[in-house]
Symmetry: C2
Subunit: 272 residues, 2 copies
């Protein structure tokens, strides 16, 4: 039971004393995406159910990014307002971990200043996309990388990618439906493509950092870069795609399971 | 159907013209280990069934190492004798890959000289064991790493490990049953412990290279090193365990799913 000694100040003014930021990792495969949906198993739905059990009240959370079905996360951040009755962060982390199942890992719980929003206070978001190229399919990386059966030319992909860095209208890289009537200008701060080894298997890893992303934007960028890496398009083609402001000009949408929402950054002053 | 023009020379002398070496990776989780067993789904059983389908004859294979149920492999090597009717290695690789399912990846098929045995011609075998230590459980590495909820002291573990390098009687590091009446002297060429990052998660990776290993030997070595890394035993304890020549002196057997049979090396002259 909650103590009832001094509830009036909080209850009358509805001002949360501070907020919580929960950093979570998840395997996207079993979920119908991040965002809560009635009757579906979603990451946010599962986290809110765990919070309701631990805190014995309804909790509405805000995520830094709404990942699609099948997309993984390493450092997704989810915020909610405190009511001052919560256990210490380390205890809350353990209690939530016990309830969210093995496909969601509660990496950290931190206290943030009142009004903190994981979504609106984010300075930058980082996504990573992994591709295993060549004839031999991945084994350990099968769940976390797209298998492209052609050898990719990473140098050509890097050469092409530079045109996307900076502030641009990325209308070509999201569905026409998502773009309708919306501002599609976004800023990409870094787009880096390297060959990396994980668990003994080699992959092409595409790292994208930006302020915010349109729906499917990273996956359409990756699908377009693969057209160039596989030799089906010239490196200069990506500039034409960007200029077209038309989804039909870009390459296919890369599959969800190769994508990981890697990290979000916030200004230091949000933390208590 | 096989051509029947010149079968007599091969059939009469029973001398295989050469051998094949198949390099395979597998996820150990769904299998009852590597070695064929009637009525069980094993890696060797599945590979031999695929070979029988592709080559239309019974094929008996030899693996470089018999991994236990749950143990993974990146570079297991399996050999069998050719009869001269096989397709080229690249075609054989693709045909086998189409039949073995997603938990077994056929990485390479090579031709070796007549009489080649993946087991008896091996110069050295390398195993890797991965541990995620600390309170936060692994997500992407959950299937491939042991979660030890205590922070491990890698420096202490390295200090302790050096006593095992070289030729020793490793009787303490295998079950009494496995050791009974057997030569338990083996040679460890390298035992290296480092902190590594895979898929954004940090792990302690133990690399062991040796000529051959006793049953469960790597897992008992790892289980003993964790006793030291977690501070439950002193670094000098490992020398006492080695000297005892008694399984009861060592630490627990680390779980199978953290272990990967990483690679096998052969003399250059075995390859055609």
């Amino acid at each position: 039971m909650r103590p009832t000694a001094t509830p009036s100040a909080v209850a009358d003014t509805h001002v949360a004393p501070h907020a919580f930021a929960v950093e979570i990792a998840y395997d996207g495969e079993p979920f119908s995406g991040f965002a809560r949906q009635p009757g579906r198993d979603t990451v946010q739905g599962r986290l809110e159910a765990a919070l309701a059990t631990v805190l014995r009240r309804d909790v509405v959370t805000t995520g830094a990014g709404r990942t699609d079905a099948g997309v993984h996360a390493l450092g997704q951040v989810v915020s909610f307002d405190a009511d001052g009755e919560e256990p210490p962060p380390a205890v809350l982390r353990r209690s939530l971990q016990a309830l969210t199942g093995r496909h969601v890992v509660i990496r950290d719980v931190r206290m943030a200043r009142a009004g903190f929003s994981a979504r609106f206070d984010a300075l930058a978001r980082e996504y990573r996309y992994r591709i295993v190229d060549g004839k031999v399919p991945p084994l350990f990386l099968a769940r976390f990388a797209w298998h492209v059966p052609t050898a990719l030319d990473v140098t050509r992909m890097c050469e092409a990618a530079s045109v996307l860095v900076g502030e641009h209208d990325f209308r070509s890289f999201t569905s026409a439906q998502s773009a309708q009537g919306k501002n599609t200008v976004r800023r990409i701060d870094a787009l880096e493509i390297v060959s990396e080894e994980h668990l003994g298997e080699t992959c092409v890893r595409i790292r994208v950092v930006g302020n915010a992303f349109l729906h499917s934007m990273v996956r359409v960028v990756v699908g377009s870069l693969v057209e160039i890496g596989a030799g089906r398009r010239k490196a200069s083609w990506l500039g034409e795609v960007l200029a077209a402001r038309d989804r039909a000009a870009a390459g296919p949408t890369a599959p969800a399971h190769g994508l990981t929402f890697h990290a979000v950054s916030y200004p230091d002053e949000v933390w208590l």
